[in-house]
């Protein structure tokens, strides 16, 4: 599982963090992909919450869309923070991506529990970024 980009988007669809190794034009394109992924997140979220039978709110949105050489996965928290994971085109099991999202959720909660973090602002915590990096390197 080669992670190209991890995006965290706030409830107002404002990006809180877009972590990628790319820069410049490539980064911009990846931002576009993350941005576009929100459409698919929104498409999937009401469908899930509308299902009355499953009382459990399914956070994991699965594969949002594939592009020619990338795969985009999504995850939504109870507070409508959205995580977008951009992977390369290799085969990935859903279990792995799901596990990654759950771990990401954990460190994200740690980051926003910081009393010095202003809710809704961009995440600039170095600790969080280092956590994220280690998480990416593990998976």
């Amino acid at each position: 599982m080669k992670i190209i980009c991890v995006g965290i988007i706030g409830p107002q669809n404002n990006p809180l963090l877009i972590h990628t190794d790319f820069s410049g034009e490539e980064r911009k394109n990846i931002e576009y992909i993350v941005y576009t992924a929100l459409d698919f997140c929104e498409e999937k979220i009401p469908a899930m919450s509308g299902n009355k039978k499953s009382s459990l709110f399914e956070s994991y949105l699965g594969l949002l869309f594939p592009t020619e050489d990338l795969r985009v996965y999504g995850y939504v928290t109870n507070t409508h923070h959205k995580y977008v994971l951009v992977l390369d085109d290799s085969d990935v099991k859903d279990v792995d991506t799901k596990k990654f999202f759950v771990q990401l959720h954990d460190i994200f909660i740690q980051a926003i529990s910081n009393p010095f973090y202003n809710y809704g602002e961009k995440i600039e915590s170095l600790n969080f970024i280092s956590n994220l990096k280690s998480l990416i390197s593990k998976s």
């Binding site: 931002e31 576009t36 459409d39 498409e43």
Partner: protein, 1560 residues
């Protein structure tokens, strides 16, 4: 070929969709004309084919068999189908020619470019949600979103015609047209046949394998302007040749020639329709179509009707199989093509289902025979059907498919096509459900990029504009900046500079990437701006965040607001404001000229209804600044970018309110001005400016004054250079003027003299020019400050570079030169040498939070900071403090000089200084000039001086000093010495405030205030402690013991001199009895190494002159100073160096007047009234009685004295004068009285002393003797009652009653019972003391020593007032290393301890409880008893413990809570051998602190143990007593004794000596 998908108009109805299909998939009719026909047609301005196109849409009625019914057997049931909008495409031969692909693209490109109407991006609303999308569609409901796409598509389809596979474009008919102007009829027929010859068909028909067997019609066009005889002849021949049904006669141009030749198409059509009412043509026109179809279809239709659909299919299918082998060589006649053609025709006639199936079969055929192109065509038509069906049913879902199709189509070679396709696909995403607006944005971006490659800038801006507006409020920074940048860049290329700049403005302050890129962005921006400024008149950019100005940081400071700081004083603005306000309030009482006008707006606003506040605040809060005085505008400027910003010509912009109006009035006259003159003057101006400019004096009065100022200031500066001067910004004002030209000055002067409108206008123009020229100058000399001169306003201009992310605080001056209201509007600057910017200051005032509305919506007060009232000239004080020390030793004296200079343009008066912390500062020369005069040498011995204190000095509030300057004219300066004498070791900040007024009356600015904030850091130097012992028998011998310790760790301190200050006492040195060689050791004692201490002994005696003097009034305001030199070698006359008296007399912090005192003051006044009434009576009253009464009365008086000392002082003096004689008479009797009292009661010392004090007072206030008789009696009775309690009789009466003083002293001495028994121990001590006294010059016999309590008197409210029997000590010293000269004040050693306070409290508490007690006693009696002498061997037992019995008796009639505290020994003798007498080197075992409630009149006994660790004589007086509030008078809940607060504390004056000696 997939460009058949939904039209660009996004919400097409079914009808629209169908009409679109029918329009584009309509039958083609080939028109073949010749040049003559075109000629005729051109008379109408169009080609013949375009002329025909007007009629391309027709109502069309066909009779067809009902095809929809399956297996309909009835032949006759022909139904009539009406097609309302049947289209026919007319095609000329030229158009039918297939252009090559390159040419195609070119054509399409130009079409898009020509047809695109660009829209401003800011008008576009972004799409962020479903609702936005709906709004968007509603907004664009009646508009075609992408009209260029429609055009593009139409043209594209046009260009498709002629491609081989599109059978639908195959002409179904051919109309040959010939003009009647041919030479002969035969010729015409020949032409017609030649025009379309099936054997020799047009090339494209061959290439595309088209069916040549099409309908043919022949039209003869006749121009009605020519005779038609020939035409008819030709027409006859045509009919004859081609058959009458296929020949038509068209008559056009029936109207006379239109007046204008060239008209546009619409007009032409109108003309054509209205003026060509040829009846034949329209009828025939429709007719030939009818005939055509009827001819084309009959066979097939009949076929259908007879066999039915299935049969037809079968026959076709079957035949296909048979002929399959032959179909290798395809021709137009083969079955597939027939099939396809049939499908086409069915399509035309809108039998869509049938055509669909036909296409389907045909496509299979084509597929099997690998005819891909034809297959493609068929499939296209099939898709068309699908889409049609989809459109009808579930169009919206299909739009995603459509989008995908478009996306696939976008992978085209042509950038333009792919761009258009991507754009369409974006719109498809918008149409889809759910709405993919982000995909919409994404594909728009892709489309934009393609447009960028295709160089379609307008389209690019449109696409990106949509994205930007939808991203607006989100934080997708990179995307946003990228899109904005491309918009900006492309707007620039299409010359839309405004939009370009708008976009740059958005992105420049927010850039986050590398500095190189930022620089390039900035370059692009400046380029865009340069082009922008060329095209528009308004070339100033408003504020957009580059450079960033922090609006909160904008401050307008007047010259008077500048605070000179020395060190780092911690004062904030509000502190200064409050200081200023209180200062002015205080001053207004002293100096009536000064009117405090600065009202506190906040308070006023609270009172006034909020509606009016704007008006009121405006009225109140406008600040006033004098003309010609610089105003400082301070703000923080920041570079948000990563590149260097160059800012030039940064200056403040201000406006005068009235000037505006005047200018408006002058405008009209201005227009009448001669422009030539201006031009001339401009030229001259320029020439002059290039010459070197030197500031020179001119003839104008104003200028002269200015110059004068400058020169004088320069001189001053030179003077000041000699000393250390902290720079004041004001001094730099004038010399910085640089770019003043002679020429302009003269012109200005002219204006001033003439005051004519013309000249003013000229001047304005000149100024404008000058500004421009100055800009030029600035380019030459950068990084310099300039003064830009506008009309009535000089503004400072600076050039600076802001490094990446740099923040700078900029302070700029403006100098108003007009009396008016100035409002500072903002700043102007030039960025990177090209971009002119005007940044408006937008300041908010305080936020209001009072009403509900204010709490919900943030409402701010208007900020009046930027509005200034300019008033006439005022003086301006420039104060400097020379040699101001930041570090000092505690109690050292430092002389600084305050340099006060008037740098204003007006005289100055009423100069006051306020130093709130005034006990550290003294103004004045060595001595206050008045005081110096009064220094007298009483004796030849210079050591004694008498100093007189003036009355006014006493009353004055010392925190405010009037510097007593009549008038300080401009540029005059004075020096005032300021002595700094910190009395506590601490770090403190001192505010100095100088208030002054203009010598000319100015209503706007009544007073001005200059401020200096200073910080002084003082460290501890000497520690002193005094002790006083008195011989009870020889009362005038009081021995003063001063212990001095050096606490300054850095250097040794040398003691130089000790002076005493008193009204009637002086000191004399006694040398230590142990030191045999006085002179040798003397100096050793005076130099104290760090943490070394010494003890000096002095004898206090009464001044002889004072003794003799009877006139008390004479020396009432005089002080005696006795100086004792400790070091003869370093003899310094301190009084000639320092303002000694002022230093002694300097005030303390004023204390609050307690309520209690106020109440009593009231009582007192009542009493005073009574006094006046009873004055006469009093004289008769027995004196003895009076005294007793007066005791009571005086209690109140004394209390009042504490507050009213100053007031009373005069009174006392006056009274003294009057009562002198009486006093003398009364003396003896009073003394007797006192003595008797002492005898009669065994009261405590303090009580006694207090009594004595009162007696003295009594003498001073003989007038105020009053009391009710009853009270007198009761008092007397009480006294009598007390008598039995006295235990022991007093010892001896002192007979030395020569003076009042001696008597008093004597009386203070407590009578100790135990002194009677002269023990061994005390004898030893006495002997020793005697030794000391023997050695001292005035040796006298001392029987006993008695400890008298010493303490510092509470600081007086204002200036110190010396009382009798008070003595102050000054120790002059010098630190060896740092050269600090210091003076340590031990002020006010009062010989008589004051217990008045205690008495008051006791009395009061009694009053409350309605209890009576004897006021003349201390509340407790204290006895301590133990062994007096002990023999102990410390070698055997290191601690010697002695049981001590302590007896406490409450003598009051109320219970008391008494706390006994052990005071830690403070004197540590250095040498125990020598000074063991004073060493309290022991400790208590058993208690160190206890609280006991003692009921009234009861005794309490407790036992403790005192522990000693060394031999010696110990004094056990180590107790301090606190009387706590009575628990019974309080609530019982307060059990904790700790919470009881102390009402009164005292030391019990006793001596209990224990000597511990070694055996043998």
């Amino acid at each position: 070929m997939t460009l058949l998908l939904p039209p660009s108009k996004t919400l097409l109805t079914q009808q629209e969709y169908i009409s679109w299909i029918t329009q584009f998939y309509s039958p083609v009719v080939l028109i073949i004309t010749n040049s003559e026909v075109e000629k005729i047609a051109k008379k109408n301005g169009v080609s013949f084919i375009n002329l025909l196109r007007c009629f391309s849409s027709q109502k069309f009625i066909i009779k067809t068999p009902e095809l929809s019914k399956k297996n309909s057997q009835t032949n006759s049931s022909e139904s009539i189908k009406q097609i309302d909008d049947f289209f026919v495409r007319f095609l000329s031969l030229k158009q039918a020619q297939k252009p090559n692909s390159k040419k195609k693209h070119k054509i399409l490109n130009s079409i898009i470019k020509n047809n695109f109407k660009s829209e401003k991006i800011n008008k576009i609303q972004g799409i962020n949600s479903q609702r936005d999308a709906i709004n968007f569609f509603q907004y664009t409901q009646n508009q075609n979103l992408t009209p260029w796409f429609d055009i593009y598509r139409r043209e594209f389809f046009k260009l498709l015609i002629g491609s081989e596979q599109r059978s639908i474009d195959q002409p179904i008919a051919c109309i040959s047209v010939v003009s009647s102007e041919v030479s002969t009829a035969v010729e015409a027929v020949r032409i017609l046949t030649k025009q379309f010859d099936p054997s020799n068909p047009p090339r494209f028909m061959i290439e595309n394998i088209m069916d040549l067997d099409i309908l043919r019609y022949y039209v003869l066009v006749h121009d009605s302007s020519t005779p038609d005889a020939k035409a008819k002849q030709i027409f006859q021949l045509m009919k004859h040749t081609f058959g009458p049904n296929s020949c038509y006669f068209l008559k056009i141009n029936s109207k006379k020639k239109p007046t204008r030749k060239k008209r546009n198409f619409d007009q032409f059509i109108n003309n054509f329709l209205s003026y060509n009412p040829t009846k034949t043509f329209p009828q025939n026109f429709g007719a030939f179509l009818t005939t055509k179809t009827s001819k084309i279809f009959p066979n097939l239709l009949i076929h259908f009707s007879k066999k039915g659909f299935k049969n037809v299919f079968k026959s076709f299918f079957g035949s296909k199989k048979n002929d399959s082998q032959n179909t290798q060589n395809l021709s137009q006649g083969s079955l597939e093509f027939k099939m396809r053609n049939l499908a086409d025709y069915l399509f035309f006639l809108r039998y869509y289902d049938k055509s669909f199936s036909n296409y389907k079969y045909a496509s299979e055929e084509f597929k099997s025979s690998n005819m891909w192109k034809h297959l493609g065509y068929c499939q296209e038509m099939i898709i068309l059907h699908w889409i049609y069906a989809a459109y009808l049913r579930y169009f919206k879902k299909k739009s995603l498919r459509a989008a995908n199709v478009y996306i696939k189509a976008s992978s085209n070679d042509s950038n333009l096509t792919s761009a258009l396709c991507l754009e369409q696909s974006a719109f498809c995403f918008l149409l889809s459900s759910p709405l993919y607006f982000r995909k919409f944005n994404f594909y728009l971006m892709l489309a934009g990029n393609k447009f960028k490659e295709a160089e379609h800038r307008h389209n690019l801006i449109r696409c990106f504009g949509l994205i930007v507006s939808s991203l607006n409020e989100l934080n997708w920074k990179n995307i946003d900046i990228n899109t904005n940048y491309w918009i900006a860049l492309n707007s620039f290329y299409i010359n839309d500079y405004e939009q370009s700049i708008e976009c740059f403005k958005k992105i420049l302050p927010n850039l986050s990437f590398s500095s190189e890129k930022q620089t390039s962005y900035l370059k692009d921006f400046t380029l865009a701006y340069q082009s922008f400024s060329k095209t528009t008149n308004q070339n100033e950019l408003p504020y957009f965040g580059l450079p960033k100005i922090e609006m909160d940081s904008v401050k307008v400071l007047l010259t008077s607001d500048h605070i000179l700081t020395l060190g780092k004083p911690n004062f904030n603005d509000s502190f200064w404001e409050s200081q200023e306000n209180t200062f002015v309030q205080q001053l207004s009482s002293i100096c009536p000229d000064i009117i405090p006008f600065k009202a506190n707006t906040d308070r006023i606003i609270q009172r006034i209804h909020i509606k009016n506040y704007h008006r009121i605040v405006k009225k109140l809060d406008t600040r006033v600044s004098p003309i010609y005085e610089p105003i400082f505008v301070q703000f923080v400027i920041e570079n948000p970018m990563k590149t260097v910003l160059k800012i030039t010509n940064l200056h403040i912009v201000g406006e005068f309110e009235n000037q505006k109006q005047e200018e408006e009035n002058q405008k009209q006259e201005k227009e009448n001005q001669n422009q030539k003159e201006n031009l001339k003057s401009n030229e001259e101006q320029k020439i002059n400016l290039f010459e070197p400019q030197i500031q020179e004096q001119t003839t104008s009065n104003n200028q002269k004054e200015n110059q004068g100022d400058v020169s004088s200031k320069r001189e001053l500066k030179i003077q000041n250079l000699e000393e250390k001067v902290t720079d004041h910004p004001l001094l730099d004002i004038e010399p910085k003027k640089k770019t003043k030209s002679k020429k302009k000055k003269s012109s200005q002067n002219q204006n001033q003299n003439q005051n004519q409108n013309q000249n003013q206008n000229q001047n304005q123009n000149q100024n404008q020019n000058q500004n421009q020229n100055q800009n030029q100058n600035q380019n030459q000399n950068q990084n310099q400050n300039f003064m830009i001169e506008e009309k009535f306003l000089k503004t400072e201009s600076i050039n600076l570079f802001l490094q990446a992310k740099e923040k700078k605080i900029i302070s700029l001056r403006i100098i108003p030169e007009r009396i008016d209201t100035l409002s500072i509007t903002g700043i102007r600057l030039i960025l990177n040498d090209s971009v002119n910017m005007f940044i408006k200051f937008n300041l908010k005032g305080k936020r209001l939070n009072q009403t509900r509305k204010q709490k919900f919506d943030p409402i701010y007060l208007p900020d009046n900071q930027l509005k200034l009232k300019i008033t006439k000239e005022m003086p301006l004080l420039h104060v400097r403090i020379r040699d101001f020390p930041n570090f000092l030793l505690d109690n050292s004296i430092k002389k600084t000089i305050i340099d006060i200079q008037n740098i204003g343009k007006c005289g100055l008066k009423n100069l006051f200084v306020k130093i709130p912390n005034n006990n550290y500062f003294v103004f004045g020369e060595k001595e206050n000039s008045e005081n110096i005069q009064n220094i007298q040498n009483i004796q030849q011995n210079e050591d004694l001086q008498i100093v007189r204190i003036k009355d006014e000095d006493k009353k004055q509030d010392l925190s405010i000093t009037n510097l007593k300057i009549d008038e300080l004219k401009p540029n005059e300066s004075i020096q005032v010495p300021l002595w700094i004498n910190p009395t506590t070791p601490e770090k403190f900040s001192v505010p100095f405030l100088f208030c002054y007024q203009s010598s000319e009356r100015n209503i706007d600015l009544n007073y001005r205030i200059s401020k200096i904030g200073a910080e002084i850091n003082s460290t501890s130097s000497l520690f002193t402690k005094t002790n006083l012992r008195v011989d009870p028998n020889f009362a005038d011998k009081i021995i003063l013991m001063v212990e001095i310790k050096n606490f300054y760790h850095k250097s040794a301190i040398e003691l130089l001199q000790i002076s005493s200050v008193s009204k009637n006492l002086e000191i004399e040195r006694i040398f230590d009895f142990e030191n045999q060689n006085q002179n040798q050791n003397q100096n050793q004692n005076t130099i104290l190494q760090p943490s070394q201490s010494t003890i000096l002994y002095f004898k206090i005696k009464e001044n002889e002159k004072r003794k003799k003097s009877d006139k008390e009034n004479e020396f009432d305001d005089e002080l005696i100073i006795s100086n004792i030199l400790l070091n003869e070698e370093n003899k310094i006359d301190f009084h000639s160096q320092f303002p000694t008296i002022s230093l002694i007399q300097k005030g303390k912090k004023p204390e609050e007047v307690k309520r209690r005192n106020r109440k009593e003051r009231k009582e007192n006044t009542n009493e005073n009234q009574k006094e006046n009434q009873n004055k006469i009576e009093n004289k008769i009253v027995n004196q003895n009685q009076n005294k007793i009464i007066n005791q009571n009365q005086n209690q109140n008086q004394i209390e009042n004295e504490i507050e009213n000392q100053n007031q009373n002082e005069n009174k006392i003096e006056n009274q003294n004068k009057i009562e002198n004689q009486n006093k003398i008479e009364n003396e003896n009797e009073i003394q007797n009285e006192i003595q008797s009292e002492i005898e009669s009661s065994n009261e405590s010392d303090t009580e006694m002393k207090m009594k004595m004090k009162m007696k003295i007072k009594q003498k001073q206030f003989p007038d105020q003797k009053i009391k009710l008789k009853q009270k007198q009696n009761s008092k007397q009775k009480q006294k009598i009652k007390l008598k039995p309690e006295t235990e022991i009789e007093t010892e001896t009466e002192n007979e030395q009653k020569d003076t009042i003083l001696s008597k008093n002293k004597l009386n203070q001495i407590p009578i100790n019972n135990e002194t009677k028994q002269n023990n061994l121990e005390t004898k030893i001590i006495q002997d020793r003391i005697q030794k000391i006294l023997d050695k001292s010059p005035n040796t006298q016999k001392v029987k006993k020593m008695q400890n008298i309590q010493l303490y510092r008197k509470k600081p007086p409210l204002k200036q110190r007032i010396w009382k009798e029997n008070e003595i102050g000590l000054m120790i002059f010293w010098k630190s060896k290393q740092d050269d600090f000269i210091g003076q340590q004040n031990i002020l006010n050693l009062q010989i008589f301890p004051e217990t008045r306070l205690f008495r008051n409290i006791i009395q009061k508490s009694h009053r409350k409880q309605k209890l009576k007690c004897d006021e003349e006693q201390l509340p407790i009696k204290f006895e301590i008893s133990s062994q007096k002498s002990i023999i102990h061997d410390f070698d055997k037992n290191p601690i010697s413990q002695i049981p001590v019995k302590i007896k406490l008796k409450n003598v009051l009639s109320i219970p008391l809570n008494i706390e006994i505290e052990i005071v830690s020994p403070s004197i540590k003798s250095l040498n125990l051998e020598k000074k063991q007498i004073f060493s309290p080197n022991f400790f208590w075992k058993g208690f160190d602190h206890f609280i006991q409630n003692i009921p009234s009149k009861t005794e309490f006994i407790f036992n403790v143990e005192a522990s000693f660790i060394n031999y010696g004589v110990y004094d056990l007086n180590q107790f301090k007593f606190h009387i706590l509030s009575n628990p019974k008078s309080r609530k019982s809940s307060r059990k904790s004794s700790r919470k009881l607060h102390s009402i009164f504390s005292f030391n019990y004056p006793f001596q209990h000596l224990i000597s511990i000696t070694k055996q043998d």
